[in-house]
Amino acid sequence: MNGRSYLFIPGNSAGMMVSSFVLDADVLIYDLEDAVSLDQKDSARHLVNEAVRFLPKRSQCWVRVNPLDSPYFMKDVDALIDSPIDAFLLPKCDDVRFKDMYAYIEATAKRKNVHIKPCVALIESATGVFTLPKLIKLNVSGLFLGAEDLSADMHMTRTKGSDEIMLARQQVVLHARVKGIVCIDTPFVDVDDMDGLQYDAIKAKQFGFDGKACIHPKQVSQINQLFGYSDEQLQWAQGVLDMAKKHADVAVFNYQGSMVDRPILLRAQHMVDLARKWGLIHE
């Protein structure tokens, strides 16, 4: 499920949907929740459902459904459970809400005799952050930080420096690593401030996030670049793997003056695998 950029597409915008599949986002998230007004929920559900079955697939495709306590959650799941989407993004998650939403999704998949989709939890409340230790014991496939709702819930003031969400960022990454799942950082909402985006994305990467949400297509390439690998990094990784083949009979060897053991080898392999997936390395 690893991606660098996760682009939100409003679920009722046919035009954005048509253009979305030519963009370079690693994951497209069709949004049935906040980007859709209440009187268009039915319309968006139909549009997303038809789009994911019709449009050519270049990226992973997720759908953010409506919250459990809305009248739309079950309808969203019922419509999309047998569609070719790659994951559900579940909003307003804490351990209890996630468990209930997952139970409904699992039961629906069973009823329709289809495989259950991976479910990614959107952490955007104080309870969501606080109950992460319990949440990762459930069948969660990824953690996604939503800082805007979290800030409202925590009575915090959002700043471009994002110091106020440091604890939440650390908690999300920590629990994702304990569970061994992907973690995605909150979007940078000022779409005209590209320097701000750069600063925020670098910070998120330093914290350990695998990728970052985008709310505008123009944010995608910058995020791909920051969360991807440079040519030098990939040359190093490929060099490590090449050297490992020559030293298959030893556990530790030297590459460019540095020791390479199993963790380093795994990291190099992980980098090359992802780079291949993102089209940075061609066979």
Binding site: S13, A14, G15, M17, V18, D42, S43, H46, L47, N49, E50, A51, R53, F54, L55
Partner: protein, 87 residues
């Protein structure tokens, strides 16, 4: 399914279409399609609409579709939405 009240769906934005359905209890299926690509794709738009009507087992309806370059999936989605809103 019976169309029992007027309903609309979609928008007049680029790549979208605007669908209006009206009850019509005995005159069969009456379609009006307006599109700048009517000559080239009108028959395909009509085919898509008729497929949805068949799926919903609609026998009587007056349906108008104002096309702004919608792809097949958008036409299907907007027609389905309008029909479900008309019940």
């Amino acid at each position: 399914m019976i169309v029992s009240k007027p309903a609309v769906a979609g928008t007049l934005e680029s790549n979208d279409c605007y669908v209006t359905v009206l009850p019509n209890h005995s005159s069969g299926i009456q379609l009006v399609i307006r599109s700048i690509v009517m000559q080239k794709y009108g028959h395909l738009i009509e085919k898509t609409i008729r497929e949805v009507l068949e799926e919903y087992q609609i026998e009587h309806v007056s349906l108008t579709l104002e096309d702004k370059g919608a792809l097949d999936f958008t036409i299907k989605a907007r027609v389905k939405t309008a029909l479900e809103r008309s019940v």
